[in-house]
C-alpha cells in the first residue's frame, strides 16, 4: 500500500480510509484526530473516489485481493503482446501469469524501469501510459481487423450482430414451411375436386401492355374501337422503347430493410411455384387453402403449452429467424460494432471507466508494486440504479482492458455483486 513521492510516504484516499477502518492508522487534520465519519466526508465525497468505489475496494481488500487503481500501462505493450499472443489466448481461462511472460524478465524489466523512472512527475507518467495504451489499442484493432476478414471465422465474440443473419435454424424453419402442403394434401384434394380450379379470366386473350422483361410480346395490336370511349383513337403500339425507360434509379433502403429484402429474396418461397396454390383458381379457394394451413399448424401445437394462460415467449410463426427471436428477448440494444472500430478508440464520457486492477495475493502470483504484471481482473464499479451498459461501452472496456477480463461490481445499498460477460462464439451459417 502507498507510494513514495519526494521522499515522503503517501497513501491513496481509499487506502487511508481502509486502514483507518481496520484500526491500523490514525489520521490527523490540524493536529486533531479525525473520526471515521469525518474521513469518509473529507476523503471520499470530495476526492476522486466515490463511496461506491470505496465499498468495492474495501470488499475486495477484505477478501484478500491486492487492489490497485487502474493503470493502463499495466496492460501489455504492443511488443509484448506480439510475443505472447498465443500464450495469452491459450491461458485465457487461467489468469495466472503465463510462463512465457516470466521467461522474458529483461524485456518487462526494461519497460517497468521506464515507468518507475517516470513516477517522479505524474504528468509524464500519464503521457507515457497514454501512448502505451494507444499503442496497444491500435494493436488490438489490427488484430480484430484480421479476424474480420471474410472466409475466416470471426473469433472476437462480442460482435453480436442482431441483424437477419441467416443461420442454420433458418433453414430448418424454411423446410418446415415447405413441408405442410405435402402433409395436408389429401384434405386439400377433396376440396379441390369439388371446385374446379378454373381461371375466371383468360389472360391469354385479355392482354395488357406489360413492360416486364419476362414478357415476350413487343408490338401491341390496335384495340377494338368498340371498347374505347368516345373521341379516343387507339392504334398499334410498340412497347419495347418503354422497357428501357423504367426507373433504373436504385431504391433508397435502410440497412435493415436491405438485409430483410436480401433474406426474402433468398429464402422466401414463391407462392406461384407452390403446387397446392397452383390448383386454386380464385381468391376464395386460395384463402381457404391458407386458412387450412394456418389451422393445421395451430393444431400441431401441443395443447399443454399453448392452451393455458401462460404461453411460450416465442410463437412458431415468429421464431423463423434467429434475429426475430433475439429481438424479442433483447435487453441490450444492438450496435453495429464492425462499422468503425476507430470509433471505439475515442474515449467519450458515456463509456464507464475501469476503476481498479485486482491481483491475487496467493503464493502462485509474484505481485510486486514495481512490476505488477497482468492483473487477475479489472473492476468497473457501477451503481445498481444505473442502466445496463451498452454493447459499445462493453466493447470499449474490453478494448481498454486488453486481455484481462472486466468484472462489473454492482453496488446496491452496500451489497456488492460481481458480474462479468463471457465471450463465446456465435453460431454461424455454414451455407454460403
Amino acid at each position: 500500500m502507498g507510494f513514495t513521492e519526494r521522499g515522503k510516504q503517501c497513501l491513496l484516499p481509499e487506502e487511508a480510509v481502509y486502514l483507518l477502518e481496520c484500526g491500523s492508522i490514525q489520521i490527523f487534520h490540524k493536529d486533531m484526530p479525525l473520526s471515521v465519519q469525518e474521513v469518509y466526508e473529507r476523503l471520499l465525497l470530495h476526492q476522486t473516489l466515490r463511496v461506491l468505489q470505496y465499498q468495492v475496494y474495501s470488499h475486495l481488500k477484505r477478501l484478500g485481493f491486492i487492489v490497485t487503481r487502474f493503470n493502463s500501462s499495466s496492460s501489455q505493450s504492443a511488443y509484448e503482446r506480439r510475443l505472447n499472443i498465443r500464450s495469452s489466448i491459450g491461458s485465457a481461462g487461467k489468469r495466472k501469469r503465463s510462463p512465457s511472460l516470466r521467461s522474458e524478465p529483461g524485456l518487462s524489466r526494461g519497460r517497468d524501469g521506464d515507468v518507475c523512472g517516470d513516477e517522479r512527475s505524474s504528468e509524464d507518467k500519464s503521457v507515457t501510459s497514454c501512448t502505451e495504451a494507444k499503442e496497444s489499442n491500435r494493436e488490438g484493432r489490427t488484430f480484430r481487423d484480421m479476424s474480420d476478414r471474410p472466409g475466416k471465422c470471426p473469433d472476437h465474440d462480442l460482435k453480436i450482430k442482431l441483424s437477419d443473419q441467416p443461420t442454420i435454424s433458418d433453414h430448418n424453419g424454411d423446410s418446415r414451411k415447405e413441408n405442410p402442403p405435402e402433409s395436408t394434401d389429401p384434405s386439400e384434394d377433396v376440396t379441390m375436386e369439388n371446385l374446379p380450379g378454373a381461371f375466371r379470366w383468360d389472360f391469354s386473350k385479355i392482354s395488357f401492355p406489360d413492360c416486364a422483361p419476362d414478357r415476350p410480346c413487343n408490338v401491341f395490336p390496335a384495340p377494338q374501337p368498340a371498347l374505347l370511349p368516345e373521341n379516343v383513337a387507339g392504334r398499334e403500339v410498340d412497347i419495347s422503347p418503354w422497357r428501357q425507360r423504367l426507373s433504373l434509379k436504385p431504391e433508397k433502403m435502410s440497412r435493415k430493410e436491405r438485409d430483410r429484402y436480401d433474406w426474402e429474396r433468398r429464402f422466401k418461397s414463391n407462392v406461384r411455384a407452390d403446387a397446392a396454390v397452383q390448383r386454386c383458381g380464385n381468391w376464395t379457394e386460395y384463402k381457404k387453402l391458407l386458412r387450412g394451413r394456418e389451422e393445421s399448424s395451430r393444431k400441431a401445437r401441443p395443447p399443454h403449452l399453448w392452451a393455458s394462460a401462460i404461453t411460450p415467449l416465442v410463437t412458431p410463426e415468429h421464431g423463423k429467424t434467429t434475429a426475430s427471436v433475439l429481438d424479442q428477448i433483447t435487453v441490450m440494444t444492438s450496435s453495429q460494432l464492425l462499422d468503425g472500430s476507430e470509433r471505439l478508440l475515442d474515449v467519450t464520457a458515456d463509456v464507464p471507466q475501469i476503476h481498479f486492477d485486482v491481483y491475487q495475493a496467493d503464493g502462485t502470483s509474484d505481485f510486486r508494486k514495481s512490476r505488477p504484471g497482468l492483473p487477475y481482473a479489472r473492476v468497473c464499479v457501477r451503481s445498481f440504479s444505473e442502466a445496463v451498459p451498452s454493447l459499445r461501452s462493453l466493447k470499449c472496456l474490453a478494448l481498454r482492458s486488453v486481455d484481462v477480463p472486466v468484472v462489473f461490481a454492482l453496488v446496491d445499498c452496500g451489497e456488492v455483486a460481481f458480474y462479468s460477460f463471457k465471450d463465446f462464439r456465435l453460431p454461424v451459417d455454414v451455407y454460403p
Partner: protein
C-alpha cells in the same frame, strides 16, 4: 342525421374563375398540338393559368374538355392536356411553365383500359363481378393520375366503377388521414376532380400508414367488406369493378399492407408503375391467377418535395371547409369540454423491453384512448363519428366518418373549444376522433 350522410354540401357549381382575377389580364399563347401529344402545365408562379380548347378534341386525365370554355389551374397544380386527334389550345398566364411533349405512355394506358373493358364485358355476359384493380408503385409516379384516367375512360364507356382510396397522405376522396371509397358516376371535373357527393370515409388519423399499420389493414378489410356488400346490391357497380389507389410506401410493412389489400379486395389485376423490384416481389407473393402488369410512368410525373406534399395536404383540408374555389363558408362556434368525447385510436407504443416477458401489445393499436381536451389539442383535425345512443364504443374506429372539424382555439378557463365546422351548431350526437394532422385556418 343519417349515419353515412356527410355533413357538408358538395362543392357548388360556381362559375369558373370566381376566386381569381379576370382572365384577360395575362399574356396569351396558342399551342397547336399534333395527334397523341400533350401540353404539360406546371403552375408555379403566384398567378393561375387558364386554358381554353379552341378546336379539335382534347382531354385532361381522361376528362374531355369542352370547346370555348376556360379552365383555371391554380398555383401549384399540375395537368396535362392530351389529344388523340390533334387540337388547338389557347393558354393565358405565364407560358414558361407549359411545354408540349410527344412522349407519353397514354397508348399503353389506353390499352390497359381496353384490357379491363374486355374483362367487364366478360363479367357482364357471365353475370360475375368485374375486374378489381390495384395500382401500386413508389410515390410520385402517377398512381392517382392513372386511377383517374382509367376511371374516366370506364365512366365514358357507361360503367360505374368505384375508386378506393388507400393513400392516407395524398388521398383524393376526402381529407388526408382517411381512407375511403367513392362511386364514380361521371367523369372527373377538370379542375376539382371527382365529385365527392357521398363518399364512404374512415378515420385513420395520420398521413402515413406506418404509424398504425394494424388499423390501416383493418380499415382496408372493412372497405373491402363494404364494397362487397355494394357489389351484391348494385349489379352495375359489381360489373364495373374498382380501382384501388395505394400509397407510395412499398417497403417493409408498406409492402405487407399492399399484399393485405390485394387479398382483402381479391384483386384480379395489379398495375405496378415504374418499379421492377416491386413487380418481382408481387410476382412471388401473389397467387398465379392475379395478373401483374408493369407499366412505365409518364414523363410528366415528377418528384414532389416534402413541403410540396404538406402544402397539397393543407390545400385538401382547406378545400373541405371552404370549397375548391372558396365558395363555401364554414361555421365557427364554441363547444363546452363536457359536451364532447374525444378519443385517439391506438395507445402510444411502449418499447418491448418495458413489458412483462411474453406480453404483446398488439391490441394497443386498435384501442380507443380518451383524450382530455386541453391546449395541445388546438389546430388538430378531428373526425366526427356519429353514435346512435348508448355508450357503445367498441368498433368505433370501424365506423364511417360523417365529417370533420378543426379546433381553432382552446379556452382553458371557460372550458370551451372553438371549432371550425362545415355545419352550424350544435354538433351532432357524436364521438370525435383526433388526428395527428394539424390545420391552421389562415388565408
Amino acid at each position: 342525421m343519417a349515419a353515412d350522410e356527410p355533413l357538408p354540401p358538395g362543392p357548388s357549381a360556381l362559375e369558373a374563375g370566381g376566386l381569381w382575377p379576370s382572365a384577360s389580364s395575362g399574356p396569351s399563347t396558342k399551342f397547336e398540338l399534333d395527334r397523341e401529344t400533350e401540353l404539360r402545365l406546371e403552375v408555379e408562379g403566384p398567378a393561375p393559368v387558364r386554358v381554353e380548347l379552341v378546336s379539335g378534341f382534347a382531354e385532361v386525365f381522361g376528362t374531355e374538355l369542352t370547346r370555348n370554355k376556360k379552365y383555371t389551374f391554380p398555383p401549384g397544380s399540375r395537368a396535362a392536356v392530351f389529344t388523340w386527334h390533334g387540337c388547338t389550345v389557347q393558354l393565358w398566364g405565364s407560358a414558361d411553365v407549359a411545354y408540349v411533349s410527344r412522349d407519353t405512355p397514354m397508348l399503353l394506358y389506353l390499352n390497359t383500359h381496353v384490357g379491363l373493358e374486355q374483362m367487364r364485358t366478360q363479367a357482364e355476359s357471365e353475370g360475375e363481378r368485374g375486374p378489381r384493380v390495384l395500382v401500386a408503385g413508389p410515390s410520385d409516379v402517377g398512381k392517382s393520375t392513372l386511377c383517374r384516367l382509367l376511371l374516366n375512360y370506364a365512366v365514358r364507356r357507361g360503367r360505374r366503377p368505384t375508386l378506393v382510396e388507400l393513400d392516407v397522405g395524398q388521398g383524393s376522396v376526402s381529407v388526408p388521414g382517411t381512407v375511403g371509397a367513392l362511386c364514380v358516376e361521371r367523369p372527373a371535373d377538370v379542375e376539382e376532380g371527382f365529385s365527392t357527393q357521398a363518399p364512404l370515409v374512415y378515420h385513420f388519423g395520420s398521413t402515413t400508414p406506418g404509424t398504425n399499420i394494424k388499423l390501416y389493414n383493418k380499415l382496408t378489410s372493412r372497405l373491402a367488406h363494404v364494397f362487397n356488400l355494394r357489389c351484391e346490391a348494385n349489379r352495375r357497380a359489381s360489373v364495373s369493378g374498382c380501382l384501388i389507389n395505394s400509397c407510395g410506401w412499398v417497403k417493409g410493412s408498406g409492402y405487407q399492407a399492399l399484399i393485405h389489400a390485394a387479398s382483402a379486395f381479391e384483386v384480379d389485376v395489379v398495375l405496378v408503375l415504374d418499379q421492377e423490384r416491386l413487380y418481382n416481389d408481387l410476382l412471388r407473393d401473389l397467387p398465379h391467377f392475379v395478373r401483374i402488369v408493369l407499366l412505365p410512368k409518364s414523363g410528366g410525373a415528377s418528384e414532389r418535395s416534402k413541403e410540396c406534399r404538406r402544402e397539397s395536404r393543407d390545400q385538401r383540408v382547406r378545400e373541405y371547409f371552404y370549397g375548391p374555389r372558396g365558395s363555401l363558408y364554414p361555421h365557427a362556434f364554441e363547444v363546452k369540454f363536457s359536451e364532447v368525447r374525444v378519443y385517439k385510436v391506438g395507445a402510444p407504443s411502449i418499447p418491448d423491453s418495458c413489458l412483462p416477458l411474453g406480453m404483446s401489445q398488439e391490441d394497443n393499436q386498435l384501442k380507443l384512448v380518451p383524450v382530455t381536451p386541453g391546449r395541445d389539442m388546438a389546430h388538430h383535425l378531428l373526425s366526427v363519428v356519429p353514435v346512435d345512443g348508448g355508450g357503445a364504443e367498441e368498433g368505433l374506429e370501424e365506423r364511417s366518418v360523417a365529417g370533420f372539424i378543426v379546433i381553432t382555439g382552446v379556452d382553458g378557463e371557460r372550458q370551451t373549444l372553438t371549432v371550425l365546422s362545415p355545419a352550424p351548431r350544435p354538433l351532432p350526437k357524436c364521438v370525435l376522433l383526433i388526428m395527428d394532422i394539424r390545420f391552421m385556418d389562415l388565408k
